[in-house]
Symmetry: C2
Subunit: 108 residues, 2 copies
């Protein structure tokens, strides 16, 4: 298995991005991240929930109780307006990092 640990700081960006298509509950977010990165990133509950609470506290996410696909109670998270701004900001920063690392790795 080519599973890789997260780099600190990338989890927020992944969560924000997965929510652009609509609200999801916690484990749903986790599954979706694993799915769209083809299994490269596996987000464990002990990483996920602290991040969700932190981000909700920061005003980037809002939550509401609902029912999951299996009739189980689940807390759904959705992007707020501030969350969308944050997504934009973190995406830009990620790009700058990738560019800079590319320069470094190429130019010796």
């Amino acid at each position: 298995m080519s599973q890789t640990n997260l780099l600190q700081g990338t989890l927020d960006l992944l969560i924000l991005k997965t929510l652009t298509l609509g609200k999801l509950h916690g484990l749903g977010i986790s599954n979706r991240i694993e799915q769209i990165t083809k299994g490269t990133f596996q987000v464990k509950p002990g990483s996920l929930f602290p991040a969700l609470h932190r981000m909700e506290n920061a005003g980037w996410l809002e939550s509401s109780w609902g029912e999951s696909a299996n009739n189980r109670r689940a807390k759904y998270y959705a992007l707020t307006k501030a969350g969308r701004r944050q997504l934009k900001s973190e995406t830009d920063e990620w790009s700058r990092i990738v560019v800079a690392m590319g320069l470094a790795l190429r130019n010796a």
Copy 2:
């Protein structure tokens, strides 16, 4: 100034890479990183030296005292064989991360 904080875990890779061209002293490494990333990453002493000691301890670097360009005593760091292996390993991992993040950011 478009200066960006490091992502945790990328500093080791940057240090290893700057040393592929030959030995450098601590602040020389720091300057070189800033230079080849066009100022995007600025590594401060408080981040650099703990990293250097950690990496030397891990056997990736070896150090020797010498004179800097200004006739000042400086500790020069050079890659070991294990350091070269580590560089290869971390470079590969970085590539996987960039690919996976690219998938995530593109596919929503």
